[in-house]
């Protein structure tokens, strides 16, 4: 197979995953939330338990009028949803699905790449918030910036811990080095990474920037139609990315409880990603939104010291072994 054919195939596979998995997660969220709250959720679209609800939503979004407020900064306003979506698409390129190179683009420093690209997402929030020329949007954007700047720190520190344990920055390399007892050793880092990841993608209970009961809809207030759909899609892709990263870094990626990793590795990865995504949805139903000061307090007084302690623990065990 020529190089470019393989490259195109890999990119196409990633784009396919990018277009289907977030919709799957969105549908799961509709149904899981509904059942946890004693409702049925979507039941009509597509006849069987409303499986086509999100497709119907997509069609509806396309038909809506695309409004740009008169006072808005047009080019920035229009660009922001794309900037929100693009980093997550790029991140999916380096997430390994299975052993022996079942990854779109293996990178020597994949972990660093992922952390830096995920960090770009906050620029889109600021762009959307400011360009909307709306007080609620601006407040939401400022909250988002404060939140993301803070939570970036425990996020990176927790990832650094597992990179130190594995002795490599390559994502397949980390899965390769992973052992089941790391579940215990790296447990605090996993919790920190997961919580900070939730804050990074602004999911409840960390949805202060959106906070629909106080800020209308935060930085997305002025968006309509397809551009709004882009933001919603970015949220679902965010769940996918955080789920996949937690899986790869802390849950052993393609490694299963019994052999057959070479054949079933991709399935293990997908099952683990689905499980983590389910927990993310569960969090939304289970916990109320944090207040702004509680949010910052949790980050700086709990997560950052814990992450530093975990780093010390990682070094101690690593040196002792």
């Amino acid at each position: 197979m020529p190089v470019w054919v393989e490259l195109v195939l890999r990119v196409l596979a990633v784009v396919a995953a990018f277009l289907t998995l977030p919709l799957l997660i969105g549908q799961t969220e509709h149904k899981v939330m509904a059942h946890m709250q004693g409702r049925l959720g979507p039941m009509y679209a597509g006849a069987f338990h409303g499986w086509a609800q999100l497709i119907a939503d997509g069609v509806k979004f396309v038909q809506k009028e695309d409004v740009t407020p008169r006072e808005a900064d047009r080019p920035v306003f229009r660009l922001a949803p794309v900037v929100a979506l693009l980093p997550y698409l790029v991140v999916l390129l380096v997430i390994p699905l299975g052993p022996s190179g079942l990854v779109a683009q293996p990178l020597d420093i994949g972990l660093f790449f992922v952390l830096s690209v995920v960090g770009v997402g906050v620029v889109s929030v600021l762009m959307a918030a400011w360009a909307s020329a709306n007080k609620y949007a601006l407040l939401g954007g400022l909250r988002a910036a404060a939140q993301l700047l803070g939570y970036e720190l425990p996020f990176v520190l927790a990832a650094a811990s597992v990179a130190m344990a594995a002795g490599t920055l390559s994502l397949p390399g980390i899965v390769e080095a992973w052992r089941p007892w790391w579940l215990l050793w790296q447990f605090p880092a996993m919790v920190i990474f997961f919580v900070a990841g939730l804050a990074e993608i602004r999911r409840p209970p960390f949805d202060m920037p959106i906070a629909d009961s106080e800020l209308v809809f935060g930085y997305m207030t002025e968006y309509t139609g397809l551009r709004f759909a882009f933001f919603v899609l970015a949220e679902y892709v965010g769940i996918l990315v955080i789920g996949a990263l937690t899986t790869v870094l802390f849950l052993g990626g393609w490694k299963g409880p019994f052999g057959l990793d070479a054949e079933l590795g991709w399935l293990w990865t997908l099952i683990k990603v689905a499980a983590v995504s389910f927990v993310i949805i569960w969090f939304r139903v289970a916990y109320p939104r944090l207040r702004e000061d509680q949010l910052q307090r949790l980050c700086w007084l709990v997560l950052v010291p814990l992450a530093l302690a975990q780093l010390v623990l990682t070094v101690a065990v690593k040196v002792a072994l």
């Binding site: 420093i109 960090g119 762009m127 400011w130 400022l142 910036a145 993301l148």
Partner: protein, 166 residues
């Protein structure tokens, strides 16, 4: 010209263009956004030069943190939409100093290297960089660490009136 050369020139042009827009645009927040474009283009240059780690550190720190902090501060204080005509910018001194420094450096490099070919060193992988830092450059690394720690503590003392000088 190889593909790498072409890419480098293109990214360099983007970086310079965005850089000029940063200082010449009348929209304050857009200046910050152009800075993002500029920094990303410079990161792209690093990538072409096979310094992967430096490139992603640039994106993580500068785009993900420094520019965001900058935009955050601008939006907290004064960030009107549309052009601000009352910005006081020392245009000519600025252009003179910036252009002069750029041209001077370019002239220095051209006279220093002429058209001699310099082979790229081995790619700046994380392993190679780590080995260098923790063997040949340990002392500078530690000194920088202490310096940053001092700056951190200094910032805390300055920003908290209850523990500063009374």
């Amino acid at each position: 010209m190889t593909t790498a050369d072409l890419l480098l020139v293109a990214l360099g042009a983007v970086a310079v263009g965005a850089g000029v827009l940063v200082v010449s645009t009348r929209h304050i927040v857009r200046a910050g956004l152009w800075l993002v474009v500029n920094l990303l283009a410079v990161a792209g240059c690093y990538l072409v030069l096979a310094a992967e780690l430096v490139a992603w550190v640039q994106v993580l720190l500068y785009v993900g943190a420094v520019v965001v902090l900058l935009l955050f501060a601008v939006m907290l204080t004064r960030a009107p939409i549309g052009a601000s005509d009352d910005l006081d910018r020392p245009r000519w001194p600025g252009a003179l100093i910036g252009g002069g420094a750029g041209l001077g450096l370019a002239a220095l490099f051209v006279s220093g290297y002429r058209w001699s070919r310099v082979d790229l060193p081995s790619p700046g992988t994380a392993t190679a960089l780590g080995e260098q830092i923790f063997t040949a450059w340990v002392l500078p690394f530690e000194v920088v660490g202490v310096l940053l720690l001092a700056a951190l503590i200094g910032a805390i003392v300055v920003s908290r009136p209850d523990i500063g000088s009374r």
